[in-house]
Symmetry: C2
Subunit: 201 residues, 2 copies
């Protein structure tokens, strides 16, 4: 007898969910139980979505963003300014920029940040692809848009030193108080950055 | 061009995750991205787990618990006391009882609680199966172990009135202060129940 009284296939399914980021074992069990009310079509659609995403999504030949085509829709869009490249850590960061509707350049996805302690050395990231891309010409500015963390800053600095000799302008996102935020709740480092980067009005 | 810059299969996968209880759209996207690092074997195993759980898990012919056999391991266990039946709302409640290691009887799963406003009338639950089971004889006590909520209490009362004429002892779980809890943080209803059900020491 299994002590938990849970059917084995349900247990296996819960374990699959528990491996995902942000889902604990209790939530995973609740999710697995909730899927028992799925129709055949719904269960098949979920399984198919997993396999479709796994087998059909690859990295864009130009910017390394995840896409189901050879080149991602952003790189393929003739309306986008190909001379400005925004370098981000992960595909999810592109979604954030696109939501703002303010950026009309293109992207380059590093798929990680330099973190020697975790074994992530520069050669593990898509830095070589960025250098090759700049080498082909047509790029005037590279915006380093990695997160304002120790690793994000270090990666931005590393790449900027590498590509500046290639004759492109390298910029970094501005950091300061978030819009709509309150001075009262700002942490010291953000406040310091906001002061340091103050602009004349 | 898709405004989000997200590959379509990834978007579809994220939507599947976002339908699950407790997972919002942001978490769902993060989960879908995280699965991009799965190997072929891992992706296939996840899809298979969904289909296995869907097609191989059914309700136990005796207690209506979810199982991959004809009869669940608890009902099939000759070491369990078949004369005591604990009536619960959902299969997850069985897992909770089994963890406590204190109960050696068997269960009956209602698969819901009576909630007329949500269209859940008694005939939608596995109440008929419970009555049939008692009618076959051999059951001396039925423990109503639905949650201490309005619906849980109403369901327990409804069923107890239905089965008492069949000559079985019907009991309800004790409610009071949780062990390890603090009087200071107990809500009024729990405290009232704890007072009302006080025992001589």
């Amino acid at each position: 007898m299994r002590a938990s009284g849970t059917a084995l296939p349900l247990k296996i399914l819960a374990e699959q969910f528990a491996r995902l980021p942000g889902i604990g074992m209790k939530s995973a069990q609740r999710i697995a139980y909730s899927m028992m009310s799925y129709t055949d079509e719904e269960a098949e659609a979920f399984a198919k979505a997993i396999l479709d995403a796994h087998y059909n999504v690859k990295q864009c030949a130009v910017c390394q963003n995840l896409t189901d085509g050879e080149v991602c829709p952003i790189c393929a869009d003739i309306g986008r300014d190909k001379s400005v490249v925004c370098v981000v850590e992960a595909p999810r960061d592109i979604a954030a920029f696109e939501r703002s509707n303010e950026y009309n350049g293109v992207y380059h996805v590093l798929h990680g940040l330099i973190a020697p302690l975790d074994g992530i050395t520069p050669d593990k990231l898509r830095i070589k692809e960025l250098v090759d891309r700049i080498g082909k010409g047509g790029i005037s500015e590279v915006i380093m848009a990695t997160n304002p963390t120790a690793e994000g800053d270090a990666t931005a600095l590393y790449i900027s030193r590498l590509i500046k000799p290639l004759g492109v302008k390298v910029t970094r996102l501005a950091f300061g108080l978030p819009i709509g935020g309150s001075l009262e709740y700002a942490d010291e480092v953000t406040l310091y950055k906001a002061l340091e980067n103050r602009n004349e009005i």
